[in-house]
Subunit: 455 residues, 2 copies
């Protein structure tokens, strides 16, 4: 199935690129017909910028709004730039309010004005509620189209209400797996699952069968908290309430899935100093500029380590084997430290590292460092004795390796804890700080020991 | 909300550890009452092994099955070991078949026997179907409790059928957002959304309102394909069919969310050579043993780089500044390469890198490397001229830096493409191979140029 899927995609891409080079617009349209907006967005992201612009021009306007929502950062910006203003306004008017909110700030002012004009009073009020909350909060994730009923009505009355709702709005809110139960003041009381609604006696009252344990989230809860809740409780949707407990919307699992995916991408990309919105096929100049900063930071670190080495240039001058072996000490400390760092960052993300745990964890990581330090010190000691026929050098090398492994695991454990307190993203800054420390310390301890005991 | 949640958790943990140290079993139970199985699993994972064992003994048997499903690798193994056989059999008998299947192989033989004995004929047949498929396929993710109806009945008849189903089984299958429509031979035709069932005219026929576009997945589709499909189409559930198109089960979004989370963890942990099931609070010896292998691989690489340096020990002997600067060359190539590597691994995961794209991407990454190489070569050249007052050294340093940056982005781009062909996980092996190459090449090109032009 997957293989087939990939083949399909490669075929579509081949057909499409051929059509874009020397085909008619009809051939292009034929190549991408039947594709879902998410697949089209994906395809647009896989194309170089010029082909992307041409395919966009030929894309059916009715799906352009959904494609913009699915597309990532720079690709989205390009597509918005390439669109005619009136067409763009038409495309985004039809979006769900939470989706509109996600791309709203990137739209040109003329389009925003047109969208605002097209909203009726209720829709504008609701949109303003959605806009109040930052993107990565429950309020930012929520839809405002929750269906709500009173607790003292029967299931039959609910069914009738839903039939009227359907007749009026032509469709039900997406991912409705439950209707919300609220009191006269609009306060959230619980939820009535559709599975109950379709299978229980229609004469039952809502208050007797509703799920009172379906806890709501408050609008200012973080998206990470919401994601955890959905994952732990296997939810499809959850009610969102304000500080007074009044129902203001609901979050559905599809938005949570998108958030989880984005977070996962972020944590992988940040460790290499990349923006998760970086366009794989961006122009080289744009990519180079963004990455130059990261390389510059690493250059400063590397030069700091070089300065440490330069303090011992007389020592190296007398025993050049030190220059041969010193990168080994630095690199092993870095690798051991990255293991601790990765483990602790994950522990923090899973909320398992806190309070008294911290010291247990540090103690454990130090033990791991000591065990592996001694183990590999013996190995490299043996190798060095044979290679350079210098037992004292082997002793110094082994001791420095053990010390740098210990320094690596200690800093790897403590850095994310400290960064968390300072509210700095450990995925972004952790590795850089760690390698700077293990490099400098590795060179210092190895060359320092050598200067003291060997030459 | 999140802050409050964290405080709650810290409070529970503090209360619990106090109770575990010198409290009665009642105090322990009180500290963890009201916690959901996923939260209990999380709490158990946050405790040191002895406390974990004591809390497990005091945990209510009715939730032990769900906790085992939620717990990760080593913690799960410990909890299974600490359980009495009959209690364990009782706990897992109640699980959903797909959940039972996930932990089945870790259960002791006596428990497996007891579980098998307790299954009735239908359940055993269904379980055997689930067990046929590997864990990371649609078949391995699916539940076998799909409700299905014929296309020629009315919605009212479906409602009556669901009422009878509910009366007989006391509950509906989890996450039922739609009932499946099948023909007389059991072949999947489409799905009937509950939102339609509750809001359309009950006299309508299923075949007139069912969603024929709700495509099924085949049981052997990979979990990654399923995750993509759920994400692209915003699905809550999907039908699973066999090769003949017969309905055999359904996949629900909660299992897809778990898969996405696991994949994300894997890609972060693998880059540091860690197993995503590694227990953060595992005993030091166990952790040290697992990580030693990774350190050993890196040691071999570091020694290979050291060997490259040793080829030029006479050169270094004559100009010790080379020893000072050479780690800078190696490290910058590694950092630039990691950026390309991370970007390409992500592009492959998102299925954006294929066919003609590959060469465009390589060309682009080489351009990025060249731009940044020249930029930082000028910077380090200037710094070196001033620091060592040696213009020729600055020239060699700058040239080596540019060449190693180019080598870094080229290997960073090509390695994941090659590993993908060889079916090796690029997240696990990519970084190691890259750093081995950029270190060795960095030292070689810098010291080699110096040997040729400087000394």
């Amino acid at each position: 199935m997957e293989a087939q899927d990939k083949e399909d995609k490669a075929r579509v891409l081949a057909l499409l690129q051929e059509a874009l080079v020397d085909g008619t617009p009809e051939q292009v349209s034929r190549a991408v017909k039947d594709l879902h907006p998410a697949q089209l967005a994906d395809l647009l992201e896989s194309l170089p910028a010029e082909d992307r612009a041409r395919l966009w021009k030929l894309t059916d306007s009715s799906v352009k709004g959904d494609i913009l929502v699915e597309a990532h950062g720079e690709v989205r910006r390009q597509l918005i730039e390439e669109s005619a203003l009136d067409e763009l306004a038409d495309a985004v008017k039809r979006l769900d309010l939470d989706e509109l909110s996600d791309i709203y700030d990137e739209l040109p002012p003329e389009v925003i004005e047109a969208v605002q004009r097209a909203m009726d009073g209720q829709r504008r009020t609701r949109f303003e509620v959605v806009r109040t909350y930052p993107e990565h909060t429950a309020g930012g994730l929520m839809d405002v189209d929750a269906i709500s009923v009173r607790p003292d009505v029967t299931l039959r009355m609910v069914l009738n209400y839903l039939a009227r709702y359907r007749a009026e709005y032509r469709q039900m809110p997406e991912h409705t797996d439950a209707v919300m139960v609220v009191d006269l003041g609009g306060r959230y009381l619980g939820s009535l699952a559709l599975t109950d609604l379709v299978s229980l006696d229609p004469e039952e009252k809502v208050q007797d069968v509703m799920d009172r344990k379906a806890e709501p989230v408050t609008a200012d809860a973080t998206a990470a908290h919401v994601a955890r809740l959905f994952q732990d409780r296997d939810l499809v949707s959850a009610a969102v309430v304000d500080e007074q407990g009044k129902l203001i919307g609901r979050i559905t699992v599809d938005d949570v899935v998108d958030f989880i995916r984005e977070e996962a991408e972020h944590s992988v990309m940040a460790t290499a100093g990349l923006d998760e919105e970086a366009d794989t096929f961006a122009p080289a100049i744009a990519s180079a500029r963004r990455r130059a900063i990261w390389l510059g930071i690493n250059l400063v670190n590397a030069l700091a380590a070089a300065w440490v080495i330069s303090l011992f240039d007389h020592t190296i001058d007398r025993l050049v084997a030190l220059a041969v072996l010193m990168p080994v000490v630095a690199s092993m400390g870095g690798v051991a430290g990255m293991q601790s760092l990765t483990l602790v960052i994950r522990g923090i993300a899973l909320d398992q590292v806190k309070g008294a745990n911290r010291w247990q964890l540090l103690k454990k990581e130090l033990s791991v460092g000591a065990i592996n330090g001694i183990l590999w010190a013996l190995a490299v000691g043996l190798i060095t004795s044979l290679w350079f026929e210098n037992f004292n050098l082997a002793l110094v090398f082994g001791a420095a390796l053990t010390l740098n492994l210990l320094a690596g695991v200690a800093t790897g454990t403590l850095i994310p804890m400290a960064l968390q307190r300072l509210r700095i993203d450990p995925a972004l800054a952790g590795g850089v700080i760690l390698v700077a420390l293990t490099d400098a310390f590795g060179f210092f301890v190895f060359l320092g020991l050598a200067a003291t005991f060997l030459v």
